[in-house]
Every structure is written in C-alpha cells, then in structure tokens.
Amino acid sequence: SSQASNKSHSSSILIGSEGSDIDIWQHIAKTDDAKKLGLKIKVKNIADGVQLNKATADGDVDVNAFQSWSYYLTYNQQNKANKLTALGTTYLEPMGIYSKKYKNVKDIPAGATIAIANNPSQAARGLILLQKAGLITLDKNFGYVGTLKDIKSNPKHFKFRQIDDTTGPRIINDVDAVLISNTVALEGHLHVLTDSIYHEKVDQSTKDNINILATSEKNKDNANYKKLVKLYHQKDIQKYIKDKYYGTKIEVNKPLSYLK
C-alpha cells in the first residue's frame, strides 16, 4: 500500500528549515513512518526567516519548520496579502539565561551587561524571560514585538547589548549574561536544562514561543501537509529527537486553539 500511496503523491513536499530542524526533518524524511503515510519529504536549508516565510507564502517552499508562533503572527500581520497558515505545533525550545560568571540570576550585579537578540521576536521573548526571572518589569501591553523601549523598570540598571542571536554561545565570556534560544544553544553545545541559570517552561507566558509548522494560506487544507504534524509526533521520532537533543526540544502537541 505504501507503494501505491507513493505513486498517488508523486510530487514530494519541500520543507524549508534552518538549524537543527534540518537534521530532524532529514531524519523524519528517511523514517518508515513517513513512508507509511506516503510522504516524500525533501528538506532545504534557508537561513533567513523572512525569505523562508516569503518563499513559503509564494509556494516556492511547501511547508516551513523553523518559526515560533509569535514570529508567525508578526509575519502575517505585516504581509496581509500573502499570508501563512499554521498546520500544527511541534515543540518548545526553552530560551535560557546563560552566564559563565554567575550561577544564579540573583547574583547578576547591578550595571551588568546582558546580551539579547537583535531580531525582534527573540528580543521580545528574551525580555519576557528576564521579567519572569524578576530582573526587570515590562510595560503592561508588552507583546511579542516589544522592544527595549518597553522596559518599565530596570532596577539593577542592566546594560543591554543586542547581538545576532546565533552568536550567543560565542560571546558568553564577554558579557555577564546572555539570552540564548535553544536552537542556538544546542549548536553551541549548551543544554538549556543543565547549563542555563534560568529558562522558560511551557505555560501561558511562553505559548508564543512554541514552534509550529506553517504553509501558505492557499494550502491550508492540504491533507498531506497536515499529516506532517502527525508524523512529527510519532513516538519513535520523538524518541530520536529527545535522545539527540537531550530533551531540550520539549514536545508540544496541542491544538492551534491553545496558542490563540
């Protein structure tokens, strides 16, 4: 039967992704689960999120697997003519606060330099995490595109330096603390659960950071694409991911309504 379904879906699904998601999807493409579902998957590395979303919306890429819910919302808000649709949730990679100098967030002294991402969704996420850790407070209306300007109080007078988020692990020695997303941390051999001094947990405050699969709005009813979500949450695939990423890609298998 698998052969038959292969035939009926002779065109493969092109998944655009970046970072560790590439490895995951390349692995998934090779699994029997994929074959059973009759999915032929190809993976392409597209490093720039904006380009990747545009390409997806244009149909040059079928499905993309890299972005968080908040990133997706931002994109859709700014590109009303060329929208994306979320297919389903995949995982939450907790962002962490890392430091080589201090073991606890409370130890970070006044006037310390904290590096956060220069890309807006990661920056906002970082600020929310800092608030959660009790280091700063943010404006009430702080959303997923909030910026440094929206900091209401910074009692310890931290200095913030915005960096390209992929360089986090490399500059960890140069600053007092740095916020690093898990994809980047993993690539830098940092395990958020063990190496960070503070990190996100799955709850309402971090729902915006849950990763999703997205496709063009035109394809929102494509059955094959929807199967990808199911495929991702297969047991053996999840085991593979857990083993490979030390459990730092926390599975989130919730309906999309959970995010709204």
């Binding site: 970072g19 560790s20 590395n45 597209i46 380009q51 545009k54 390409a55 244009d58 690539e187 830098g188």
Partner: protein, 223 residues
C-alpha cells in the same frame, strides 16, 4: 581521518554538492555580471566628461544608479529583488534563484572596476583611433577593451573572488553552496571541521581563480 574530521566524512556527498553549487553560482552570475558590468562600465567611461561620447545626463544617471545598487545591503537586496527573481527564475529560493541577487550584488561593483580600468587606457591611442575615423563602437571594442584587457582581467579576478565571497551570503535564500555549509552547518553548530573544510575548498577555488587569472594576464600583457 574520521577522528580529525568526523563530520566531514559523514557529509562527503553534501560537500561535493555544495562545491558544485558554489561553482555554478559563481560561474553563472559571473557571466551575466561580466556582460552587464562591461556594458555599464564602458557606458560610464565613454559618456563621462571628456569621453568619446560625452553625455552629462546619461553619465550622471548611470553613475548614480550604480551607487544606488551598491548601497543596498545584500540581505535587503535579496528581498527587494525577489519579485524580479520570481519573474525570471520562477522561484525565489534555491541555487538558481540566488543568481539574480548575486548578479545585482556584483555587477555594479564590476562596472565601477571596469570604469577605473578603462580610464588607464592611454588617451593618445584613443586620439589616434579617432583620427583614423574609428567609430565609438570601434573605439570601444578595438581600443578600450583591447588595450585595457590586462587591467580588465585584473579587476575581473578581484570581482570573481568578491563574488565567491558573496555566494556565501546567499544561503539566506537556500542557495546552498560552500558558504552555506561553512556558516549554517559548520559555524552555527560548532562543527569546526566542517567550517574548516568548506573554507579550504573555497580557498582552493579562490586560488584557482587567481592563478588562472594571473596566467591569462601574463599572456595578454605586452608591457
């Protein structure tokens, strides 16, 4: 071997493919950029004040366009140009799609280089050709492009090497290539052997271009 470059061995196939992608991107965009760059560079030289087809308006418009294109950061160029890419290539991602931004990223630079190279052609020889009744087109092909050939080749080497550098940035739109491997696989994941190997291959390409270019320059140069 596996001990020193464990990840590389595992990725042999990817490396071969990435090398081809880099060569493909460089070669294709070099060819188109060469044509465009020569065209625009020559246009700048002949229309500039004192040129054989002096034309203030054309010169200042083209001159400004070149600067305009050179001002746009490459990543933004990728985005700005994507409708054109879509129109020309049919998609905005992938190796072939990267050719369009690569061409627009490099040809204005090349045009400026060509302009500088042609400015060094001896004015007396241009005059001699004019005195022999050569038309502007003849002067361009028989004098400028020929007398300036060694210099044109020299700036072409510089440009191709810059272009190889630029291809490493096209990973943003899924161009693949060695730069993508080095940056998005090797560097981002701290797999230094991959970065290192990719860079060695880039280096080999750069040296090949330089050596070949130098050889051609030596062949065409008669003092």
């Amino acid at each position: 071997m596996t001990a020193i470059i464990p990840n590389v061995i595992a990725m042999k196939g990817e490396f071969i493919q990435a090398t081809w992608e880099t060569i493909y991107m460089t070669l294709m965009s070099a060819i188109v950029s060469a044509v465009l760059g020569l065209l625009v560079g020559v246009l700048l030289v002949v229309t500039q004040p004192g040129g054989i087809l002096e034309d203030k308006l054309t010169y200042s418009v083209v001159d400004k366009l070149v600067n305009l294109l050179r001002s746009i950061p490459f990543i933004i160029l990728l985005a700005v140009i994507s409708p054109l890419t879509k129109f020309l290539i049919g998609t905005t991602v992938g190796t072939t799609a990267s050719l369009v931004p690569l061409i627009f990223g490099i040809f204005p630079f090349y045009a400026r280089q060509i302009q500088n190279a042609l400015l060094d052609v001896d004015h007396g020889v241009i005059e001699a050709a004019e005195s022999m009744g050569s038309s502007p087109l003849e002067i361009i092909f028989r004098i400028y492009l020929r007398e300036g050939l060694a210099d044109i080749l020299r700036v072409s080497i510089v440009t191709v090497i810059s272009l190889i550098g630029l291809t490493t940035m096209a990973g943003a739109i899924g161009s693949g290539g060695l730069g993508d491997v080095a940056i998005n696989i090797g560097y981002a994941r701290f797999e230094n052997d991959i970065t290192f190997t990719a860079m060695i291959i880039i280096l080999v390409l750069v040296f090949a271009v330089q050596l070949f270019g130098d050889w051609v320059v030596r062949r065409v140069e008669h003092q």
